[in-house]
Symmetry: C3
């Protein structure tokens, strides 16, 4: 087990909710190294948090503990769980937030044991009262199976997948980053299969980009550019600018690649 605990929430940083979770963690595991992945997930957007975990976890050490709390069902019937996958541990609500991590097999357990919760558990803030203590106990070496019975049939959310057609891939923008880069669900491998040695012809919002560059700096300032982004997916950007603004395109908008 690693001492690294990451946090992914929709709590923002204006309130002290995140800070109090860190207090709870450090009271139990003073040696924990806590890393914020983001606290600015769109409120209640489980799928966005699931994408953050999918694209970030592999850069952390084996044994790292990822605490994720986007939890519209807090206080209801959704199960609090700990999950083992990719040689790491994931703690949070069973509401689909771990959907994109379980493909290659996983084990999961219910967070049930009262010994690993705060003495008083509120009905509105399980991040502080159940999940933060669980992550801290894991960092101290408690085995995940000590928390409760194994659970299966986790809730899943589905991100829309890109579709491979004859001579084309139909995908969409799954994330717009703070630079205004449009990150899609079309992978490097799909592009290679489609195009081979030929150039892709990328259609987005009525504009056509021919070809794929290596990086933003391969085009002049202010120009549109398509690249394979840092997480391995097709990305449309504007050098030193915002593709979101230039194209008026946002999350969920379609993008089509053909062979040119």
């Amino acid at each position: 087990v690693s001492k690294v605990i990451t946090l992914t929430t929709d709590f923002g940083t204006r309130d002290a909710y995140v800070g109090t979770m860190k207090g709870v963690i450090l009271r139990i595991a003073p040696e924990a190294a806590i890393v914020d992945l983001t606290h600015e997930v769109e409120k209640q957007d489980i799928t966005e948090a699931a994408l953050v975990l999918k694209t970030s976890h592999a850069f952390f050490p084996d044994g790292a503990i990822h605490l994720a709390v986007v939890d519209p069902g807090v206080g209801g019937t959704r199960r609090p769980i700990v999950l083992r996958a990719h040689r790491q541990l994931f703690v949070g609500p069973d509401n689909g937030i771990f959907s994109f991590l379980v493909g290659k097999g996983y084990e999961a357990w219910l967070l049930e044991a009262k010994a690993f919760r705060l003495d008083i558990v509120s009905d509105t803030f399980h991040g502080r009262d159940i999940f933060a203590p669980a992550a801290a106990h894991l960092a101290r070496g408690t085995d995940p199976s000590a928390f409760g019975p194994a659970v299966r049939d986790l809730v899943e959310v589905t991100a829309r997948q890109s579709v491979e057609l004859a001579g084309a891939i139909r995908g969409e923008v799954v994330h717009v980053d703070s630079f205004g880069n449009l990150i899609t669900n079309i992978s490097r491998e799909q592009l290679a299969t489609l195009c081979g040695e030929r150039l892709p012809r990328i259609e987005v919002s009525g504009r056509v980009l021919a070809g794929l560059e290596r990086s933003y700096s391969d085009v002049p300032r202010g120009h549109l550019v398509a690249v394979i982004g840092s997480i391995g997916f097709l990305e449309v950007a504007v050098r030193d600018g915002s593709a979101q603004r230039k194209l008026g395109v946002g999350r969920g908008d379609p993008i089509v690649v053909r062979v040119s």
Copy 2:
């Protein structure tokens, strides 16, 4: 003494003011574990910072050091102090920021000794030059009484208290969190005393909510709900939405509970 130092300021995170305070701390106390409570207190809003400290400190270990800098009087006559209360230490200006911590008794000392300040003390940034070094020295084990003479008669700010009337409690919204939840100054205990087994009838901005739910998920999406929030006070929320937006209500607006 704990190695945990929390920070509460109105500095924001765009400038490097908070970062330089952390540099000062780590130069003196390399083992410190620094936690941000919030840096987005409304500019100059001492009462808001006082509420953050009140509702957060208990989740940190005994001996934790809380550094709080909302300091409109910097460079003037207000005293820099260290306070011991609730088996924790609090460092900052004596301007009322610790008002809600001193009810059960406290000891306080002036931060006077030059040995525990930066060599050059500016007139505009005591957070960096006086308070951060003080917190770091405390984390290394320096006794608070070593900083200067004991002080009494601390400055106090008063949050408006809720008022108990015959068959009713008249309170107000003291904080609106980033979800748009309206957090009030009416406590779980006050509600229990007022209502006993009967249901509360909650009036806010011309709307009436009957009853109290356990959690947000006890009502359908988009519906108003009253709960006892995670810090033990009456809270009005909208499931998966914003009560602030739905009701047009903000901090300072009245809320009345009657027995139904």
Copy 3:
């Protein structure tokens, strides 16, 4: 070498880019103490990042490692470097971001050795793939000369300097902080040389301020005040308010000091 690694970027905190850099660091150097200086540098604004490093680094321990990534040329021909200056280390692109640190002499090396990079290096995120691993290896004690050949003739950006005229200094606003304070490029020493015992007469946006106060609290609330700010430069502020808003002045706007 210190275990302290600071981060300065234009990545924002909404995406997990900063978090993944921290994961990379902690995988290599689990004992690193990571401090965010700011992630809200204006997108692509190398000069602003250079100013952050200039005004912040001295508050960190000897041997601290400063990682700075404002990198519009990522994937192009700009060199990745490590720099030693002021008994600290600086890691980032050779695009001028370290311009204000090299005045008193420096040594620099190319970040070339594949052993100190991630196995797969993307063309769009060298912060994660080259700079974060380099900082982590430095924190573990790797000598900067181990990364590659020494480099000279670093790229420089120039901040406009204030100009000393007969009986006057012509400067400008170089930064507006989150309080709306206007921080200029006119230093304490320049003011002393110009004015001696006499009072400065400060002209900004058609307004004249006579004299220099010690701190904000030396004037009534809402009044304009000129002070020497916490980094040693002339600053125009409004007590408990925003000089930016009151004067309608921003970065790059002129400010003139005369002897009165």
